[in-house]
Each structure stands twice: as structure tokens, then as C-alpha cells.
């Protein structure tokens, strides 16, 4: 930890001004009220309110390396007594050297003043001690709070990372198999699919770096994802979008929609032999972006076991980002499944 006076110029300024004011007041008082000769008053002020504050600033080091918690009270008292004594000796000695040229021989000023200075020196030492301990305590408290909030931010970050969706290996390998098949029958389409898959992967890897993206970007990625799945599922997968044009600039956490579509495909498209429509409706109301995803599913073959890990993660992620648990709504109509995301916006979108 740095010396508070050299690291904090505001504090240093206060320190200088404080002693300057006291010094000036002292001179005025002594000269006018007590009729002390100006030269003596100046000397005293220089010694007490300039020299001592200069030397005294070093007292910080004596408390810096003797924290109240780590050192026993006895050792602390002895240490500070010795330190105070050394400081007082130095202080009085330097004062003596400064005073000498100005004081006539035989004047009792020196012998009157110097011994009492020792007492004042010890008292001032005690005041400094309290002052620096207070400063030290305040500084370490501030540092601790700062570290704590940094730590909390780190945890939050890590938690968010863990909640973000990972690419499903089934999806990846099945897509690669489709590509493998297309290289035989339709190389051009195979190439197109490789490119789509790459772009989708790139976006999903990028999500490690950035939390929020424009809705248009997220939507593009979803369409990319669906185009890849469409190659696999053909007419079985039917995606419909109803999106207000002015929603496009809204902000949305990235890769938050993909797990929803993945679920819709897994439970809707994959489990049936008929065509399944995944319908996406988006609108903006004031400072909210509302996204509703609906898909049919075959209730006779599937028993939905509450919320899967995908939905649970989205719910948690939304909760961490927006600090509100009510932003994900799930409705199971037994033949269709609906998920609604409500995404708060910093600025009203209109």
C-alpha cells in the first residue's frame, strides 16, 4: 500500500492547508494577544506546524508495518514509544539548529521552550497515530470492497458462461453426415451447407466474447441454424416468422434463442412423422422485446418431464442478466408448446 499523502493529492492538499491555517492563526494569536516577538512566533510556527508535519508524515510507515491485528498490544506500545522518542529527538534537534542563529546569547527562550517541546512531540505523535490508523483502515476497507465486487463480477461472468448453450453434438454429427451424403449427390449444396455450418459455428463461438447483440443478428443466426436443419428434415420442418420491423435494433443476449429452436426441433420435429411448424412472433412494446415461440408436438409419444436443461439455463441466464425471474414463460397446451421471452430494453424501441 502506498503512502496516503503521496498517493492521494487531495488528502495532501488538505494536510498542507490544515497546517498552514493553524500556523497563521498561531502567529496572529501569539503576536497580537500574547505579545510574543514576531521572530519567535515565526520560529515556533515553523517548528510546530511545518517541521513536525513533515517529519510526522513518516509515522504512516510505523503503522503500515505494525497492523493492529497482527502485533500484540505490548509490542505495539513499546514500538511506538521508541518511534515517538526517535522522532521527538530528531525534531527537537533540528528545531534547535534552526533557532540558534536567531536567538541572542543569554536569552532564556531556548531553555524555556525546547524541553516542553518533547511533551508536545509525544502528544502529536499519538494524534498522528490515530489519524493514520483511521486512514489505513479506510483504505483497506475500500480495497476490500473493490476486490469483493470484482470477485462477484467474475463469478457472475463464469456462471453466465456456463449457462450459455453449447453446440449439440447430435446436431453437429448429423449435419456432417448430411454433408457427406450431399457430396455424392449434390456437391454444390454440400458446399453451401459447409459454409452455413461454419457461419453458425462462428457465431456460437463468438458468443464467448460479447453478451448483447442486435436482435437482427441473433435472428440471422437462427435462420442459418434452421436452414441447416431444413436440409436434414426437409418438409417436416416448417418455420414461420412474424416480426415487427422495428424490433430489429433491439438488444438481446446472444445465443439465447438457439436452444429454444433446438428444443422445438427435438420435441416437435424429431418425434413425429408429420410436418411441424415452428412459429416465431416478435413485437416490441415500450421498453420490452417480446418473442413467442410455438411448436406442435405429439403428446402421445412424449412425456415432457418438466423443464429440460436448455430451458432451465435460459431462465437462469435471463435472471442473472436482468435480475428478474419473470421473463421466461412456458405454456404447455398438450398439443403445442409455447415459450415466451420478454427482453427488457435500455431504450424504448419504436
Amino acid at each position: 500500500m502506498k503512502h496516503p499523502l503521496t498517493s492521494n493529492y487531495r488528502l495532501l492538499g488538505f494536510y498542507v492547508i490544515f497546517w498552514a491555517v493553524i500556523g497563521v492563526l498561531n502567529i496572529i494569536l501569539q503576536v497580537i494577544w500574547y505579545n510574543v516577538p514576531l521572530i519567535y512566533s515565526l520560529l515556533e510556527t515553523a517548528s510546530n506546524f511545518v517541521l513536525y508535519p513533515l517529519l510526522g508524515s513518516s509515522i504512516w510507515y510505523s503503522i503500515r508495518y505494525n497492523s493492529l491485528e497482527d502485533v500484540s498490544v505490548g509490542r505495539l506500545i513499546i514500538f511506538h514509544l521508541i518511534a515517538a522518542s526517535i522522532l521527538c529527538v530528531i525534531w527537537v534537534y533540528i528545531s534547535y539548529i534552526i533557532y540558534q542563529p536567531f536567538v541572542e546569547k543569554g536569552d532564556k527562550f531556548l531553555s524555556d521552550v525546547l524541553p516542553t517541546k518533547f511533551l508536545a512531540g509525544y502528544a502529536m505523535y499519538a494524534v498522528y497515530l490515530v489519524f493514520f490508523y483511521a486512514v489505513n483502515y479506510y483504505q483497506s476497507l475500500k480495497e476490500k470492497i473493490k476486490k469483493e465486487s470484482e470477485y462477484k463480477a467474475l463469478i457472475r461472468e463464469a456462471e453466465l458462461q456456463a449457462l450459455k448453450s453449447q453446440i449439440n453434438p447430435h446436431f453437429l454429427f448429423n449435419s456432417l453426415n448430411s454433408i457427406s451424403s450431399l457430396t455424392v449427390s449434390n456437391p454444390e449444396k454440400a458446399q453451401e451447407m459447409v459454409i452455413n455450418l461454419s457461419n453458425f459455428m462462428r457465431y456460437s463461438l463468438m458468443h464467448n466474447e460479447k453478451e448483447m447483440v442486435p436482435f437482427a443478428r441473433e435472428l440471422d443466426n437462427i435462420k442459418l441454424y434452421l436452414s441447416i436443419e431444413k436440409v436434414r428434415f426437409g418438409r417436416k420442418l416448417n418455420a414461420e416468422f412474424e416480426i415487427d420491423a422495428h424490433c430489429m435494433d433491439a438488444e438481446i443476449p446472444n445465443m439465447i434463442l438457439q436452444p429454444l429452436f433446438e428444443n422445438a426441433i427435438k420435441y416437435g420435429v424429431y418425434e413425429t412423422t408429420d410436418q411441424v411448424t415452428i412459429k416465431t412472433v416478435c413485437n416490441c412494446e415500450g421498453s420490452f422485446l417480446r418473442i413467442t415461440l410455438t411448436n406442435d408436438y405429439d403428446a402421445t409419444t412424449l412425456k415432457r418431464k418438466g423443464e429440460g436443461i436448455g430451458l432451465r439455463n435460459i431462465r437462469k441466464r435471463m435472471e442473472i442478466i436482468y435480475n428478474s425471474p419473470e421473463l421466461v414463460k412456458v405454456t404447455d397446451n398438450k398439443t403445442s408448446f409455447e415459450v415466451q421471452l420478454i427482453i427488457p430494453q435500455k431504450q424504448a424501441v419504436s
Binding site: 447430435h170 454429427f173 456432417l176 449427390s185
Partner: protein, 252 residues
């Protein structure tokens, strides 16, 4: 080999079917006699056409490849094709059938076919091993449905419909709200594959769904019966260990 292997492809994705067909097209010993898009058609086709070899996808709509095997009267040689699955390793350990991980090469497929040919030449019986394979549990997940077949139809019973399961020698009888279905499976299978939070093995012969228990009665010293919620108030015997398990699950 004089006769070609009669081969059936069961796979829900068109592109995957195309690939298989193109790999097998010029194989001298293979004749593809049909393709199915789902497990229902697959069961029908196998039982009717009795192919020598089946390429079977595991993840398919309606019923999975594994569930499909349970419904077969006739067991052909099976090569599984799948994208990614915990089953793969287990299946290799058992060496019951070959296992192709998508995407796979033509060479890999041909070596699988060779294995099948050797197996047919040695007249190995695979049905037991297949049975064993279908007893595996995918990962740590409990089953959420059971597939059964009566004379005409395939029924998919989600586990929440099951009231209780009764053992009948080599078979089990599954009692649901609508009726009962026989299935060739062991009690052990149901005991390990049904979620023990919902299903309790109360007796050597019974596994019961806790939600269907109306009351538990003592009818002799140290012996109990469970009375179910149905209108007949079906009574099922409870063994000593069964009673302990009920106590554990229901916390009394």
C-alpha cells in the same frame, strides 16, 4: 456367397438414406429390398420381409431403434447407424452388432458388412445379444416410455400411465389406466430403468407406481398389502423388503 443379403434400411433422414444406398449400390453381395422412414414401418417391414440385414438408425420419430428391436418377432442381423451416442461404446463392448458412427466412410461400412457375412457363415445367433443390448440404459437417464405390440398395433405407453407391472414367467404384464399389455422383458429391466422415485418394487412379482397407491394395509403380522386407487381396489402383496422401500420413498 451365392445369394445376396436381403437388406433393409431404416433411417428417418432422407440424406442419410441416400448415402447408405449409394454406398451399397454396387456391392456384389447386397440387395436393398426396402427403406423405412420410421420405426413403425420398420417393425412391419422386418416382420413381413424377413431381411437378412438391417441398417438401423437409433434416434427416430415415434419409437427409437432400440425400442423397435423389442417389438420384432424375427431378429435379423443389425448394423446400427447413429450420430453420437453413449450406446456406441457399450455396443462395441458387447460385440453384438456393428455400430457405425455418422458420418462414416464407405470402407467402414464395407467392413461392417463383412462382419455380418462372417457371422452368418458361422451361423451365430445374435438374438440373445440383441436382447442384452436393448436392456441397456442410455446414460443415467430413466426411461420415459415403454413400447408394446399386440396383434395389430404398436402402443407407446408413457411411464406416467403405468399403474403397476406384474411378472409372468418370461414376460411382464403392464397395467395402465386403459388396460394391460404384455411385454417380453424382465422385472429386473423395469426395476433398473424406471425412476425409483416413482416406481417401487414392492414384491418379487410387482412394481407399482407410487401415485396409484391408495393405502397400505396390514393383513397379517409383518405382512402388508397395497390397495390401488382404481375402482376395483386392486390389492397387491408387499414383501418385507418391499415394505421398507415404500417407507423410504413415501417417508413415513
Amino acid at each position: 456367397m451365392s445369394e445376396k443379403l436381403q437388406t433393409l434400411i431404416i433411417e428417418d433422414e432422407e440424406l442419410a438414406r441416400n448415402l447408405l444406398r449409394s454406398y451399397l449400390k454396387d456391392h456384389a453381395d447386397i440387395e436393398v429390398i426396402g427403406e423405412c422412414e420410421n420405426g413403425f414401418d420398420g417393425v412391419k417391414a422386418i416382420n413381413e420381409k424377413k431381411p437378412d440385414l438391417v441398417f438401423l438408425d437409433i434416434q427416430m420419430p415415434k419409437i427409437t431403434g432400440f425400442e423397435m428391436i423389442e417389438l420384432l418377432d424375427y431378429k435379423p442381423q443389425i448394423i446400427f447407424t447413429t450420430a453420437y451416442d453413449q450406446y456406441a461404446l457399450k455396443a462395441f463392448e458387447l460385440n453384438a452388432v456393428d455400430y457405425l458412427l455418422k458420418p462414416f466412410s464407405k470402407d467402414r461400412l464395407l467392413s461392417a458388412v463383412e462382419k455380418v457375412q462372417t457371422r452368418i457363415a458361422n451361423e451365430e445367433d445374435v438374438s440373445d445379444k440383441l436382447e442384452e443390448l436393448s436392456n441397456l440404459r442410455p446414460g443415467q437417464e430413466f426411461i420415459d416410455r415403454v413400447v408394446v405390440k399386440d396383434r395389430h398395433k404398436i402402443h407407446i405407453i408413457t411411464v406416467d400411465q403405468i399403474r403397476y407391472v406384474e411378472s409372468l414367467d418370461d414376460y411382464v404384464m403392464i397395467y395402465t389406466n386403459d388396460g394391460r399389455h404384455m411385454k417380453q422383458k424382465t422385472m429386473k429391466y423395469f426395476e433398473t430403468n424406471l425412476d425409483p422415485k416413482d416406481f417401487i418394487r414392492i414384491h418379487r412379482s410387482y412394481i407399482v407406481h407410487v401415485d396409484h397407491i391408495a393405502e397400505i394395509q396390514q393383513y397379517e403380522k409383518e405382512s402388508y398389502v397395497v390397495i390401488l386407487k382404481d375402482k376395483d381396489k386392486t390389492k397387491l402383496k408387499v414383501s418385507k423388503t418391499g415394505y421398507k422401500k415404500i417407507k423410504e420413498v413415501l417417508h413415513f
